[in-house]
C-alpha cells in the first residue's frame, strides 16, 4: 500500500464511499418522482415510502393495516433465517471439511451434491409445501437447503487447499487429529469458510422470502406478498428496503463475529 492510498483510506470520504451509490439512487428517484416521469401507482415518491416505512416500523398497531408490524415480521424472518442457516452450517461445514480432506468422501458426495445443486431451489417449494405444509417449517427447509451448498462447497475447497506442509508441521509438533483439525485445518481454511458462510447467509435471505411468499401470516416476505395483493406498492418497496438493510447488517455481523472469535478470520479473511 502506498502512502497516498493510506491517506485516502483514512479520510472521512473513505467512510462515506459505500453510501454514494444508494444516495445517488435515491436522488435520481426523487427527481424522477418530482418530474412525474413514472406514475405513482408504479413507483411512489420516496417520501411516501418513508412515511409507510415509518408507520410500519414505529406506528401503533391499529393505525393501519401494516402499522407496527415490523418487529414481529422481522423477528419471525430472522428466526427462520437463523434456523435454516444454522442447519446449513451444522451439516455443510463438517461435511465440507471432511470431503475436502478425504478423497473417498469427496468421491462419494460429488455426484449427489452437484446433481442436487443443479436443481433450482424454487422447484423444491411445491414438494416442501406438501411435506411440511404452509409455514415456518417449509421456509426453514428451503433456507437450509439453499444455504447448504455454498457452505459445503467452500468448506471443501478450503480444507482441500490447506498447505499439507502445515499439517505435517503440526504432526511433528505433536498436534494432529482433533487438535490438528481445530488448530491448523480450520484456521488454514478460514478464508474459504468465510466466503461460504457469507454466501450461505446471503442466499438464506433470498430463500426466506421465497418461503414466506407461500401464504404464511407474518414475516418480511409475507408482508411483501400481502402488499402485492392489496396493491400497496409502497409497502412492497418498504419490504425490499428492509430486507436489503437487514441482509447487509447480518453480513457485517457475521464477519464481525467471526473476526471476534477467530484469529484466523481476523488476520486472513
Amino acid at each position: 500500500m502506498t502512502g497516498h492510498e493510506m491517506d485516502i483510506r483514512h479520510g472521512g470520504a473513505w467512510r462515506l464511499l459505500p453510501g454514494v451509490i444508494p444516495a445517488l439512487f435515491i436522488l435520481a428517484w426523487i427527481v424522477v418522482s418530482a418530474a412525474s416521469l413514472i406514475p405513482t401507482y408504479l413507483l411512489p415518491h420516496p417520501l411516501e415510502i418513508a412515511k409507510s416505512g415509518y408507520t410500519y416500523i414505529l406506528g401503533q398497531s391499529g393505525e393501519g393495516p401494516y402499522a407496527g408490524r415490523f418487529l414481529i415480521d422481522s423477528g419471525q424472518s430472522l428466526l427462520r433465517v437463523g434456523c435454516g442457516f444454522a442447519a446449513a452450517v451444522a451439516f455443510g461445514l463438517p461435511l465440507g471439511i471432511v470431503s475436502g480432506r478425504l478423497p473417498v468422501v469427496q468421491r462419494l458426495m460429488s455426484t449427489t451434491v452437484n446433481a442436487l445443486r443443479a436443481v433450482p431451489g424454487i422447484t423444491w417449494l411445491p414438494l416442501a409445501m406438501v411435506w411440511f405444509g404452509i409455514g415456518v417449517r417449509t421456509t426453514v427447509f428451503l433456507v437450509a437447503l439453499a444455504a447448504f451448498f455454498p457452505v459445503y462447497l467452500n468448506a471443501a475447497a478450503g480444507a482441500r487447499q490447506v498447505n499439507p506442509v502445515l499439517l505435517q508441521a503440526g504432526a511433528m509438533m505433536g498436534v494432529r487429529r482433533v487438535r490438528g483439525t481445530f488448530a491448523i485445518l480450520l484456521p488454514g481454511a478460514m478464508p474459504h469458510l468465510m466466503t461460504g458462510l457469507r454466501l450461505g447467509l446471503g442466499i438464506s435471505w433470498a430463500y426466506l422470502v421465497l418461503g414466506e411468499l407461500t401464504g404464511v401470516s407474518n414475516g418480511l416476505g409475507a408482508v411483501i406478498m400481502d402488499a402485492r395483493m392489496l396493491g400497496r406498492i409502497d409497502m412492497i418497496v418498504v419490504g425490499i428496503i428492509i430486507i436489503a438493510v437487514i441482509g447487509r447488517l447480518s453480513d457485517s455481523l457475521l464477519q464481525a463475529g467471526m473476526r471476534f472469535f477467530f484469529k484466523s478470520a481476523r488476520r486472513m479473511a
Binding site: 505435517q168 504432526a171 511433528m172 509438533m173 505433536g174 488448530a183 484456521p187 484469529k263 488476520r267
Partner: protein
C-alpha cells in the same frame, strides 16, 4: 596435523553416544506399473550432538531420506531407530525445518513459536518464559507481534528454528532450509545455526546441495549419488571451528568435495 585439527574440531569433547541409526533403508516408489528405486541400502548412524550434512544433486533422494527419518513416509524396507526404538510417524523428538515457509500464517511470530508448547500442558508462566528465551535466541524480540506474511524469508526460518528448538527435539532435520534465501541471509542463518547448535547441542541432519554450506556446517558429510540414491562416501570434516569461509583449508576442502560430487 590431522589429529590436532580433529581435536580442535570437537571443543565439546565428551563421550559420544549413538542416537540415531538408519539401517538398510530402501525406498521404492510405484506408479503406473513402473517403479523407481529412490533409496537403496542407506546405512548410517548419528552420534549425539553431531551435525551431519547430506549432500547430493537434485533427485538423489536426500529429501526423501529426511522425510523417512521425520516419519512423514515409511521406508519400503529397513528401519530408522532413535535411541534403538523404531520410528513410526512424526513426533516432536524429530523436528523438521522445511525448505518452504511452513509457519502458520494466522499466528504471530510469538504465537508460532509457542504453538508446540501450547499443547504440552506446562504451566503458563514457564511457557511464557520459554517463548521469551527462544525469541531472544533467534533475535526476533522486536518482531514478536508480526505475522509471517510481514517478515523476510530469513526471519521466517528463524521462527521455524525457534518453534522446534523450544520443543527440545533430540534430532533436528533440516531440508535445504536456507536454499531460497539470498547469499547474505544464508550466511547469517548458517552462523546462527552454528551458534545455536554449539549452545544447545542438538543432533542435526542437514540436507543441502550447496557444497560450501556443507563444509561450513558439518562434522560429517554423507555424499549421495543418484539412480538409485545411495550413500557413496562418508567424509569427516576435520576443519577447526569456527571455520572461515575464505581460509585456504576451507576452500581446499570445498574443492575436493565438489570434485567428488561431480565424479
Amino acid at each position: 596435523m590431522r589429529l590436532q585439527l580433529r581435536a580442535l574440531a570437537s571443543p565439546r569433547e565428551k563421550p559420544r553416544e549413538k542416537i540415531l541409526e538408519i539401517a538398510g533403508v530402501h525406498k521404492i516408489f510405484h506408479g503406473n506399473g513402473n517403479f523407481l528405486h529412490v533409496l537403496e541400502g542407506i546405512d548410517f548412524r548419528a552420534e549425539k550432538g553431531e551435525l551431519i550434512c547430506i549432500v547430493g544433486r537434485s533427485g538423489c533422494g536426500k529429501s526423501t531420506l529426511l522425510k523417512i527419518v521425520a516419519g512423514f513416509m515409511p521406508p519400503s524396507s529397513g528401519k530408522v531407530l532413535l535411541r534403538s526404538r523404531s520410528v513410526e510417524g512424526p513426533g516432536p523428538e524429530r523436528c523438521v525445518i522445511f525448505q518452504e515457509d511452513a509457519l502458520f500464517p494466522w499466528l504471530t511470530v510469538q504465537e508460532n513459536i509457542a504453538f508446540g508448547l501450547k499443547w504440552k500442558g506446562r504451566d503458563k508462566q514457564a511457557r511464557v518464559e520459554e517463548v521469551e528465551r527462544f525469541l531472544g535466541l533467534v533475535g526476533l524480540n522486536e518482531f514478536r507481534d508480526y505475522l509471517p506474511g510481514e517478515i523476510s524469508g530469513g526471519m521466517k526460518q528463524r521462527v521455524a528454528l525457534a518453534r522446534v528448538l523450544i520443543l527440545k527435539p533430540e534430532v533436528l532435520l533440516m531440508d535445504e532450509p536456507f536454499a531460497s534465501l539470498d547469499a547474505q541471509s544464508r550466511e547469517e542463518m548458517q552462523n546462527l545455526l552454528l551458534s545455536l547448535w554449539q549452545e544447545l547441542g542438538h543432533t542435526i541432519l542437514f540436507v543441502t546441495h550447496d557444497v560450501n554450506e556443507a563444509v561450513i556446517l558439518a562434522d560429517k558429510i554423507l555424499l549421495m549419488s543418484k539412480n538409485p540414491g545411495r550413500i557413496r562416501e562418508e567424509i569427516r570434516v576435520d576443519l577447526p571451528r569456527p571455520r572461515s569461509r575464505d581460509s585456504s583449508a576451507f576452500l581446499h576442502f570445498s574443492r575436493r568435495l565438489r570434485e567428488a560430487l561431480r565424479a
